[in-house]
Symmetry: C2
Subunit: 413 residues, 2 copies
């Protein structure tokens, strides 16, 4: 450890929170403490937390996490949403100079940022500007995103818990839809990648599931959305079963890459230029209206069509996947230990080493990757995960099922 710079560590959380982002926060603290941080003679002096990410750091809003007792850490780890507060700020060069200033002022030499694509990009920019400024700062990114769209990672902490919520919701809503038949649209988070919408299909793998259970259509951003084909497919299912349950990603787009949701919503844009897709029921409501109009019989009433937009509960529901909780904690610890290991920076990636299907136990390992490997890059659903325009493949089921934990067992008459 002789080559470690003396100074403090700081940890921040950024972007949309998840059910397990606090596991990673606590994991980093535990990893640093395990390496002796805070003890006399250790080069890593104090472990600080940024309130609301780099926004708090640049406004001297820091709290000391070094001496938190284990009971508090455990309780925080089990709690959804960002315990330190989060931010959507994306630092430019001027913002980054303020970050250096804050780091100098608070003697920070170890910078941990837990977040998704945008957050890893923030981490990369801070790291590069620190290098250019000659300020020795070691930056570590810990992955997090319910969208599951970070490259190299088999999957991303936060995704399994959100997928668990979506699968459970589709199981229950499928029975609700069977109980009072009609057409039901559920809109699911996921700006560019369909992993979370695809998780709806896991409802069909629950113990006691029956062949006619939904979802009957799964609409992903990776498959160009053709409205005519959509209406035709819904009509076919509705004619056959008298009902139809539909999973729609908020990020569905047409052949030209135009987001269907954005075309329907006069939305605001955030600091990253993203149009607001979540926090509005417009996409579901518009699709419901279109189905009602186009499936209206020549005589009689149109079919009963309803739309729910699952919204923010997908990312904060307090019933996380056990695999997700454990991996998020382990990824944080890995970054903390990595920081103490020498002259290094980087991001932590989750690799699958046991498939969790076909008799093989699920297992994962962590490894260090370059910040530039992950920063601002987006992964999409692999083509092998897509069965056809309106469903996922068994490969996807094999991929996602081991991640989300047990689903409830329903009884039927």
């Amino acid at each position: 450890m002789s080559n470690l710079i003396e100074g403090n560590a700081v940890i921040g959380q950024s972007g949309g929170p998840t059910a397990v982002i606090n596991q990673s926060l606590v994991g980093v603290v535990e990893g640093l403490l395990a390496e002796g941080a805070g003890r006399p003679g250790n080069p890593i002096k104090r472990i600080l937390g940024m309130r609301h990410g780099v926004r708090g750091l640049t406004h001297d809003q820091l709290i000391d996490l070094t001496d938190k007792d284990q009971a508090t850490l455990n309780a925080v780890a089990r709690t959804p949403s960002a315990g330190l507060g989060s931010t959507r700020d994306k630092p430019d060069a001027e913002y980054c100079s303020r970050i250096f200033h804050a780091c100098e002022k608070h003697d920070i030499r170890y910078f941990f940022y837990i977040g998704g694509n945008d957050s890893s990009d923030t981490c990369r920019i801070v790291n590069e500007l620190a290098n250019e400024a000659g300020y020795e700062l070691r930056c570590f990114h810990v992955p997090k995103t319910v969208d599951n769209d970070l490259p190299i990672n088999d999957h991303t902490p936060g995704y399994p818990s959100a997928a668990r919520y979506v699968a459970t919701a589709f199981m229950a809503d499928n029975l609700d839809n069977a109980s009072i038949p009609g057409i039901k649209i559920n809109v699911i988070m996921g700006r560019h990648a369909g992993f979370l919408a695809a998780a709806a299909a896991l409802a069909r793998t629950a113990p006691g599931a029956e062949p006619e259970d939904g979802p009957h259509l799964v609409c992903l951003p990776e498959v160009p959305f053709d409205l005519d084909a959509f209406v035709e497919k819904v009509a076919e299912v509705y004619d056959r079963l008298g009902r139809c349950q539909i999973a729609v990603s908020e990020g569905i787009q047409d052949r030209d890459g135009q987001a269907i949701g954005a075309m329907l919503i006069q939305g605001e844009k955030d600091a990253h230029g993203n149009v607001q897709l979540s926090g509005s029921g417009a996409l579901g409501d518009q699709l419901a209206r279109i189905l009602k109009e186009r499936l209206k019989p020549a005589a009689g009433k149109p079919p009963r069509v309803r739309a729910d937009t699952f919204g923010y509960l997908q990312r904060c529901w307090p019933d996380p996947s056990p695999v997700d909780s454990e991996e998020a904690r382990r990824a944080g610890r890995y970054a903390g230990v990595l920081a103490a290991s020498g002259d290094v920076d980087g991001s932590v990636a989750i690799l699958r080493t046991g498939r969790g299907t076909g008799g093989e136990d699920y297992r994962s390992e962590l490894e260090r990757i370059e910040l530039s490997d992950v920063a601002a890059k987006t992964k999409h659903m692999d083509p092998s995960f897509i069965l056809d325009d309106f469903d996922v493949s068994s490969d996807f089921i094999d991929y996602a099922r081991p991640l989300i934990g047990e689903l409830p067992t329903f009884g039927r008459l």
Copy 2:
């Protein structure tokens, strides 16, 4: 039992399903079986189930429940949504004559209907028309509604579980909102009564809750909705805390009793003349748009405003309140036993006999009430449950808290 008519029993489920409506279904079966139904010599011969309520009954869609094994019954009881299927049909005189015909055809003399206001009214009409037609039929209503708006009942099976979902959702969403501050609207089910929206306030009673936790406003149908006062109150909270979490009932109305939601939605009406309020995000989206416009500062960006509409998951989420599960089962059993007790009909009401607060254990008892006492009547929030235009009172908290079971414990930094 000598005065019991010989014949079969039939059980139906009607209206919006809940997380515990199958507990009541199984309870009726168990109550009848406990009284010897189906055994040689017992006047109650077979226990039948209507597929999709009176719609199934009048189309000969019945299944025999007499010989279901206890493991199946237990599994069904634990499963949300109506296991037999539900319906929103409201029988008129002609429909009722078809019900009699079906009852005669299937030798039905005991008619159980599990549902809310509309369902109890169906029960009453069927009962009256049976009397008029000289067909001896004994009708029993078992209460169910997440709206909690049946008279006489302290509360209604289905409500505690939906309230549990809403309270848990507000706890998690409050942390999400604190994590990325802004204004967050959550729209909650409840056409005329605010009990379910009021349950959002239970989030503030969870272990470890802090004084600044949301919801910061609770908007109920019982309090005339004044848009100016609403905007002013949101602005006050937002100025003070930098964020604001809002619970809005889908049934909020203005001083003239005009539903705010219905004014914003070009909705369809169901067979009962009710405008569709659930299954659309329009109310939340419109309120979000108004807040964004009216709270826009003279210079700079409008506040971040998001709206989620909790939708059908409120009534079917598979994590019911233990009190609710037990009471729903017991109410069903009570009706089954009642039917075998002699020349009687009626509805089952839940009365509270132990407050569940101030050191007194929670307890409830059941009693028979007249069908006409409950049919098509609506209960509203008692004025003592309302603190002011935008919050509930401690009396409401004392009323509702014992019903919903344990809430998660969150840790804070």
